[in-house]
């Protein structure tokens, strides 16, 4: 009955999508980095960005083999260790970190750098899965909620100082916890807070609070008398008012100018397209100029001109948009959605809670990166530097996502061996 062969049980559909995404990613990196190359050299020229990425891709093959050949139970058994190592690697940044573009989130090894935060996502997922898979853990219990959130809070606190944007990624774990029984008011509160946050930046706090008051009073009197609870209503009102005013205060006094600008661009408050708005503006121009079918591979004028900053990393999708057009963009989006939905589907059919939670974490992480990155590139989300999984240039990112995905595929392939 036991079938140890990983290759037979591996979800080849996910692997296939992964391979396509990595190859497409490299092709677009090649195109976007060509502009800075004086003479076209071999694709194996490791001094060039496309050459390095090629190397990263090649090196991820042994990585995959290692991940798949490790015993299926290893990840569950050692999840705590992995988590702690991950946290230490983040903490170590405060001492040994190398500052690149204002963010000290790198370890430098000669000419190569390593970004621990890319791996900590995996570690955190494992730790969360391990914690939730404990039969005694019931998320209806407030103490359990606090503990679960604590697992997430530690890496967030360690990442925020270096890279506040990526900390946002951890927000997606709320959806995983909800799947596993976290009361829905967490999600609603998060959702309302998000809406209020955006509204608070657009509308004067006093006006917004007034509107909230009107809504609360309306709801209060429309409720059946027996359900009217003026104490709860007052508390809700005070919380909303406090939140709105504190958002305004934090935005104006705690945020740094470049953080404020990122939101202001999005809200249409900034018009300086040569300054802070440059990235988003150029990115929209590049994508928008692609039209239905794009300008053709290696024919993107914006890409060639190097107008879009960081195009090979966070803005890699602009190359897709410009050179492959709407049709090409749709294809890439379809691949991502297909992969994420496939992982959710696989997660739901897991026999152990551990691998199900972990699968959910994988889907959630891929999704939040995919969404935040593309939404930023098309100008509907603030500029937050998160990579597009498998696409963006960078060894740490590619390996991090590869490990994240293949650990789950290993678990999925291994499921027949459990129980």
């Amino acid at each position: 009955m036991k079938n140890q062969s990983v290759t037979n049980n591996l979800d080849w559909m996910s692997v296939f999508i992964y391979i396509i995404l990595v190859i497409l990613g490299w092709l677009n990196i090649y195109s976007s980095s060509l502009s800075s190359v004086e003479d076209q050299t071999s694709i194996f020229d490791f001094t060039q960005i496309y050459g390095k990425q090629f190397l990263f891709i090649i090196l991820s093959i042994p990585l995959i083999f290692i991940v798949l050949s490790v015993d299926g139970k290893f990840y569950e058994k050692f999840s705590s260790v992995i988590y702690i190592v991950g946290l230490l690697s983040l903490a170590g940044l405060f001492v040994f970190g190398k500052t690149v573009k204002g963010q000290a989130n790198w370890y430098s090894f000669g000419s190569f750098g390593l970004q621990p935060s890319e791996f900590v996502k995996t570690a955190t997922s494992l730790a969360l899965a391990k914690y939730l898979s404990d039969v005694q853990v019931n998320l209806k219990d407030t103490n359990r909620q606090i503990q679960a959130l604590g697992i997430l809070a530690i890496p967030i606190l360690l990442i925020v100082p270096h890279d506040p944007g990526s900390a946002l990624i951890y927000g997606v774990f709320i959806l995983v916890l909800y799947r596993e029984g976290l009361p829905s008011w967490y999600v609603w509160t998060g959702f309302i807070a998000l809406v209020l946050f955006v509204l608070a930046l657009m509308i004067k706090p006093l006006v917004l609070t007034g509107v909230a008051l009107a809504v609360i009073i309306f709801v209060y009197y429309r409720s059946r008398i027996i359900n009217r609870n003026w104490i709860l209503s007052t508390i809700v009102f005070l919380l909303i008012g406090g939140f709105v005013f504190s958002v305004d205060y934090v935005f104006e006094n705690v945020f740094k100018q470049h953080h404020r600008d990122r939101f202001n661009i999005l809200l249409g408050k900034e018009v300086d397209m040569k300054g802070i708005g440059y990235n988003t503006n150029q990115s929209e121009i590049a994508i928008g100029s692609g039209g239905w079918f794009g300008k053709g591979y290696l024919e993107g004028t914006q890409t060639k001109g190097g107008f879009v900053p960081e195009q090979h990393t966070d803005y890699i999708f602009t190359t897709v948009g410009e050179e492959w057009g709407f049709v090409g963009s749709l294809f890439v989006i379809a691949l991502f959605v297909l992969l994420i939905i496939r992982i959710i589907y696989l997660a739901e059919r897991q026999k152990t809670k551990f691998s199900r939670v972990y699968g959910y974490c994988v889907a959630g992480i891929l999704f939040i990166h995919f969404f935040v990155n593309i939404a930023m590139v098309v100008g509907i989300f603030p500029t937050i530097g998160v990579p597009l999984p498998f696409f963006s240039y960078g060894g740490s990112g590619l390996w991090g996502f590869t490990i994240l995905l293949f650990i789950f595929l290993k678990m999925d392939a291994n499921k027949v061996n459990e129980w």
Binding site: S35, G288, T301, K304, G305, G306, G321, I333, I344, V378
Partner: protein
């Protein structure tokens, strides 16, 4: 429920992203445009404009390179002002003033910061240009006029306006285009075709090579040189003779239709419409509504032709067989063409035949002939149309199709004209008899008048007048090689021509003949009126003259019009005579006459009805000679014999 939240969010978010992408990539066109502006720089290579030569190959119009420093005020940032100023040798105050002026015009659009650098300054600036954000060099090719006459023939070069840009895809903002004169009519030949280079640029606006390996690039095609039919020396002389007069001279070579001279007065030095003062000068010329220097009188002024029109009346009468050369009409210093209607005549009276009728310019003779034409069919409308059609075969009443951009039809009435003018009641030859002597509804431009006399010189045919002689590496329009034959039989021309010849011997131009040249001509004096303060005021008559020479082998046909020049032989006659002498003999023997014409001025006449004449118009400023009035007595005594009379 808990299972579907994440997939639902994924679904919603994906729809959102796809919609946004659809909007950016498919709906919003502006981004495509921005992308092109962003990444592709179009660099134009302007070919040099073709040179203009006269009929003998004398260079009239060449080019001069000119380099302007342009500024886009919004982009001027972090520049070393001191270095900049010392490089261009300007003061800091100048610098600030110019920037401010440009900013007032537009912070975003380029303005000329410093016009017309010389080559050395240009080279020095170009080297360090990249240090000065917001400044760049625009090379232009300006006209370099070798002569100070012929402004109306050449036209000028100006920047295209928005109207032209919208109509003609070739032109972009800032491009130059020929306006008026041959610069306009031969614009496409002179300008050539600009070359286009698409250059890929990066975000620092640096060129990073040719766009798509130059697949869309085109090479500039040089402008072609042209030779005009103008005789530069004759043109110059004509303009000099017309100084301080208003009017036009058109000289044509009869056997080819080539325009030898096309003078309008007052005119201006073409060089004033080049360079920094161009705009200011043009505005001054444009706004001079009294002297109208930009109005080419040779082509545009529709005058009552007066007596020269009698030539046509005679020819049509002969062709229609209503008279022959021996037909006689009796004139007793006038002509009673209807009860109570009398047309005065200043001929010597008695029984006149065609020959004396012409050289004495007898009103009675031609009025009688005209009435016979109109009455020939006992049907005035038909008579008028027959007459009118003969005239049209001389190129009258229509645009002539010459190769200059402006013109007027003139006016030759038809039966329709009179049906409109006299609706409901009969009109007859008597009603319209003043047409006979060129005073009725007939209007002609000087060039039509010149073409008419050229046709007479040719004994019944003409070539469409034209100003293009040769296009280097091109061919000129076939229509200028097409002979137009009149409806009047050639045999009827000789009697008329012999009359015109004796205009110089015994007639109204007696005393203006040139030794050794047989000139045939005809004086004209045309009444004219103007509305001044709402009242119709009769102004001084126009002085008109048409002539061709030599009689048997015509080399030049000419029409001269001098506004308010009293009578034909007073101004137009002598000028015609001098022009003919100049063209045929290349030098003037009658120095007294020449001096009188060169120095003579009609300014006083022109200023008569203007309460406060403006003295400092550009035209007045440019007049090289001071306004010198020749005393009227002097003219009268000298010209008393040649004196024409009103109505001739």
């Amino acid at each position: 429920m808990r299972k579907v939240l994440l997939p639902t969010i994924i679904f919603v978010v994906t729809i959102l992203l796809v919609m946004r992408l659809f909007y950016l990539q498919v709906i919003d066109d502006s981004l495509k445009l921005k992308s092109d502006n962003n990444a592709i720089k179009i660099k134009y290579d302007y070919p040099e404009r073709g040179y203009i030569y006269d009929r003998y190959g004398k260079l009239l119009v060449a080019n001069q390179p000119s380099y302007d420093i342009m500024v886009i005020p919004k982009d001027v940032k972090n520049i070393d002002t001191t270095a900049f100023c010392s490089l261009l040798n300007i003061t800091k105050e100048d610098f600030l003033k110019k920037i401010e002026k440009a900013r007032v015009y537009s912070p975003r659009l380029p303005s000329v910061f410093l016009a017309q650098l010389n080559k050395k300054e240009y080279a020095a600036f170009q080297e360090v240009q990249r240090n000065f954000n917001g400044f760049y060099i625009q090379k232009r090719s300006l006209r370099d006029y070798q002569v100070n006459y012929g402004a109306n023939i050449f036209g000028f070069i100006t920047q295209v306006n928005e109207n032209i840009i919208n109509k003609n895809k070739y032109y972009n903002s800032g491009d130059l285009i020929g306006k008026q004169g041959v610069e306009e009519s031969y614009e496409e030949i002179l300008r050539g075709i600009k070359g286009v280079k698409y250059i890929q640029k990066d975000k620092y606006n640096r060129d990073i090579g040719s766009y798509k390996e130059g697949r869309f690039d085109t090479i500039a095609v040089q402008g072609k040189d042209i030779n005009l039919t103008i005789d530069a020396e004759l043109q110059k002389y004509g303009e000099e003779l017309m100084i301080n007069k208003r009017g036009g001279i058109v000289a044509i070579e009869p056997k080819t239709g080539e325009i030898l001279a096309l003078v309008t007065a007052p005119s201006y030095d073409p060089a004033i419409l080049v360079g920094r003062q161009r705009s200011k000068n043009y505005t001054m010329l444009y706004n001079d509504s009294i002297a109208k220097p930009l109005y080419d009188r040779g082509l545009l002024a529709e005058y009552t032709p007066g007596s020269p029109f009698k030539i046509l009346t005679g020819l049509v009468a002969l062709q229609e067989g209503v008279i022959d050369e021996n037909t006689g009409f009796s004139c007793s210093h006038g002509f009673s063409y209807a009860p109570g209607r009398f047309m005065r005549c200043h001929c010597h009276g008695g029984l006149l035949q065609l020959h004396r009728g012409i050289y004495e310019s007898c009103n009675t003779y031609f009025s009688s002939s005209y009435m016979r034409i109109i009455d020939k069919f006992n049907n005035p409308p038909r008579g008028v149309d027959v007459w009118s059609n003969h005239l049209k075969s001389f190129g009258l009443g229509e645009f002539m199709g010459y190769d200059l951009p402006t013109g007027r039809r003139g006016k030759i009435p038809t039966s329709k004209t009179y049906k409109r003018m006299y609706p409901g009641w009969g009109w007859s030859s008597k009603t319209i008899v003043s047409n006979a002597i060129g005073q009725g509804e007939v209007l002609m431009t000087p060039i039509q008048l010149a073409n008419m006399i050229a046709t007479v010189a040719n004994r019944g045919f003409y070539y469409t007048p034209h100003i293009i002689k040769k296009i280097k590496g091109g061919t000129i329009d076939k229509k200028f090689r097409t002979k137009h034959v009149t409806t009047v039989n050639p045999k009827y021309f000789d009697p008329v021509i012999s009359g015109l010849f004796d205009v110089y011997n015994f007639g109204t131009a007696h005393g203006l003949n040139v030794e050794g040249i047989d000139i045939c001509g005809k004086t004209g004096t045309a009444e004219n009126f103007a509305k001044i303060n709402g009242k119709r005021v009769k102004l001084q008559d126009h002085s008109i003259f048409v002539a061709f020479a030599p009689k048997d082998n015509p080399k030049i046909a000419i029409a001269v019009f001098v506004e308010n020049g009293y009578w034909g032989a007073r101004w137009a006659g002598p000028i015609t005579s001098l022009m003919i002498e100049k063209y045929i003999k290349r030098k003037i023997t009658r120095k007294d006459l020449e001096k009188r014409m060169l120095e003579g001025s009609l300014e006083a006449e022109y200023n008569k009805y203007i309460p406060n004449p403006v003295k400092d118009t550009l035209i007045n400023q440019m007049a090289k000679k001071p306004v010198k009035l020749v005393s009227k007595e002097a003219i009268k005594t000298k010209d008393s014999k040649a004196k024409d009379s009103t109505g001739n």
